[in-house]
């Protein structure tokens, strides 16, 4: 008892500190439209959207140990769903189109998941990439959705319920509030999921799937459920991205985006709650900085920003395998490193 109290207090303190930090960050983000410039607010909105996307991939890569290289398929399909559900030059209803888009992503994840989860390891990486590319080619080559040019969404979704309109999504501040609310919802949901029995089981699968199976868990079903949930949350992000940009195109489904979001997860620190959020912010900031690089030695580095970005990705893969969160954790507790 005597030894238990300080430890319990320490845990309690850390718990309180976590909640205080979370409330402060959420408060600052919520207040941002009242003092920030339009550009800043829109940038932060974009970061939050990509953070939702990265968090969803983290469910697979970080929590379950499934390295998916085709996660953009679920992101893009939800965006296309909004574009196709919107009547031309008119707004779709937020309350029907958002669930519809997430449902479509979930269904696609179910079908692809049933196939790719039969494989593991490197096969899984290749199969997810290949099936995502199949989805890409469906939208790229067929006429149903504007082909390689994509579709414009002329009016942002209408948020009114029974005549009452809490948000006007054409206003950047209102869109920011919606994205922030959904971001907090997704963050809280993933936190609950991580600490639930489900979360423990998928963590067990990551460490040793055979053992979990011997314990009587139907690991395939858990992995499939996780794949579908991750697909639906990616769909939420893709829907919001389509709302913000007002356009969808096949690049939203492409392997390039799948690779970028994987980079966000790893850069931030996979398997942690805040890692993907930090990673998304860091990647988008880096992208912005690199795009504004000046012309050096006759080469427009800003135009060829993917060159320095590629070098950064290579360096992160070699020297920061546990991401920025891992860097901080290592500095705080150098002994707690046991893989």
């Amino acid at each position: 008892m005597a030894a238990g109290r300080p430890v319990r207090e320490k845990i309690l303190n850390r718990h309180v500190a976590w909640w205080v930090a979370a409330v402060v960050v959420a408060g600052v983000l919520a207040a941002l439209p009242f003092f920030g410039e339009k550009f800043t607010v829109q940038f932060v909105t974009r970061v939050l959207i990509m953070a939702i996307f990265a968090m969803s991939l983290n469910l697979l890569v970080g929590f379950t140990g499934l390295v998916s290289l085709g996660h953009a398929a679920f992101f893009g399909v939800a965006g296309y769903c909004l574009a196709l559900a919107s009547p031309q030059y008119q707004a779709a209803s937020l309350w029907t189109s958002l669930p519809l888009a997430m449902l479509a992503s979930g269904l696609l994840a179910l079908v692809i998941g049933l196939l790719v989860l039969r494989t593991s390891g490197v096969y899984f990486i290749m199969a997810t990439l290949a099936f995502a590319q199949m989805v890409y080619f469906v939208f790229h080559d067929s006429g149903i959705a504007g082909g390689s040019d994509g579709i414009y969404i002329y009016a942002r979704p209408d948020a009114s319920i029974l005549g009452w309109r809490p948000l006007d999504l054409e206003q950047f501040a209102d869109l920011h509030f919606l994205v922030l609310a959904l971001f907090l919802f997704a963050f809280g949901f993933i936190r609950l999921l991580r600490d639930s029995l489900f979360g423990r089981v998928i963590a067990g699968i990551r460490v040793n799937e055979h053992r979990m199976r011997s314990l009587g868990f139907a690991t395939f079903r858990y992995k499939l459920a996780c794949f579908v949930v991750a697909g639906m949350i990616a769909g939420l992000a893709g829907y919001l991205a389509a709302v913000q940009y007002g356009v969808v195109n096949p690049e939203m489904l492409g392997w390039h985006l799948s690779g970028t979001v994987l980079m966000m997860v790893i850069l931030g620190g996979m398997g942690t709650l805040t890692g993907p959020v930090i990673g998304a912010a860091a990647m988008l900031l880096l992208e912005m900085v690199l795009q504004s690089l000046p012309e050096t030695g006759g080469v427009g580095l800003g135009r060829h920003w993917q060159l320095p970005m590629g070098i950064v990705i290579v360096l992160v893969a070699l020297f920061l395998p546990r991401g920025l969160a891992g860097l901080l954790a290592r500095r705080r507790a150098p002994v707690a490193d046991h893989d």
Partner: protein, 298 residues
């Protein structure tokens, strides 16, 4: 479909499949022996095609461009293995995916800076410009037959190298037990560098000989990379035989998928979705044999 058309499509399918095998064979070799998943493999195919184009314009003939291009791509492979890949052996697949993804971006941008973003054509080299007449209106270009022949020769050479030579024996032993081979006094690091350079050279060589028929364009590497992954998933990873059979299957399915699409096209039966046939084949194989046709169960 009449017989000459069928024959032409069949030859096209085989040529396409064999070319795909040359690229996918290198990919599966690098994975099977070194345990490295290399997303940048398609980029080496693209580099090969661009080398063929720029060296042909410099030397005036593809026959001079190909040997020079092979030397350059082997050097490229050695440098990349020495600089990056050798650091990956101890890391897991996630780091390999990330690093080689970064490598794709670097290669794409360097290509854009060095060679621009235009589409280029490479002329068919001199003695092979002829076509064989099949009927009064249909003929088959000799160059495509030459591609098939060259690919078969390379496939046989690769098989002999891996299965029948002392070097191949050491390579196979290294794939099974790296430490053991090393303790027998063999420089495994050097050996892996050679295998990686061989894989890069195979991909680049495929890009070079494909350049006159497929033209040279940005993004051609990624297209090939995805198809290579499909080949490896269908054939079974690390299996060169599986890669050969899967590549030929994909060549057939893709080519005839498009032809049949033309015929059903008048009925408007989702003609755009013919490109999906390859992926449907992959889905079927995953349902039937998740480890691929020739893969070992893990």
């Amino acid at each position: 479909m009449d017989l000459p058309t069928f024959l032409i499509q069949l030859l096209n399918a085989v040529q396409y499949g064999l070319l795909l095998f040359l690229v996918a064979g290198g990919l599966t070799l690098i994975f099977g022996i070194m345990g490295i998943i290399n997303l940048a493999h398609g980029s080496f195919y693209m580099v090969g095609a661009y080398l063929a184009w720029s060296l042909t314009s410099a030397f005036g003939s593809l026959w001079l461009a190909i040997p020079a291009g092979i030397v350059l791509s082997v050097l490229l492979g050695i440098v990349i293995e020495w600089l990056l890949i050798r650091r990956l052996y101890k890391l897991d697949h996630l780091q390999q995916v990330l690093l080689t993804f970064g490598l794709i971006l670097v290669v794409e941008e360097l290509r854009s800076i060095l060679w621009g973003n235009d589409v280029h054509g490479v002329p068919v080299p001199d003695p092979l410009t002829a076509s064989i007449a099949l009927t009064d209106t249909l003929s088959y270009p000799v160059y495509r037959l030459w591609i098939s022949a060259v690919c078969i020769v390379f496939a046989v050479l690769l098989y002999l190298l891996i299965q029948r030579t002392r070097l191949g024996m050491i390579i196979r032993a290294g794939a099974t037990n790296r430490e053991m081979v090393q303790s027998l006094g063999i420089n495994i690091g050097l050996l892996y560098r050679f295998v990686f350079a061989l894989g890069v050279a195979l991909a680049a060589f495929a890009g070079m000989i494909a350049a006159p028929v497929s033209s040279v364009f940005p993004g051609m590497g990624n297209q090939v990379l995805i198809l290579c992954f499909v080949v490896v998933v269908i054939g079974g990873i690390g299996s060169v035989k599986g890669a050969l059979i899967a590549a030929l299957l994909i060549g057939l399915v893709d080519t005839f998928g498009k032809v049949v699409e033309l015929q059903i096209g008048s009925l408007r039966l989702l003609p755009e979705l013919a490109g999906m046939s390859v992926y449907l084949l992959m889905a079927a194989v995953l349902l039937w044999r998740p480890a691929g046709l020739f893969g070992r169960k893990s």
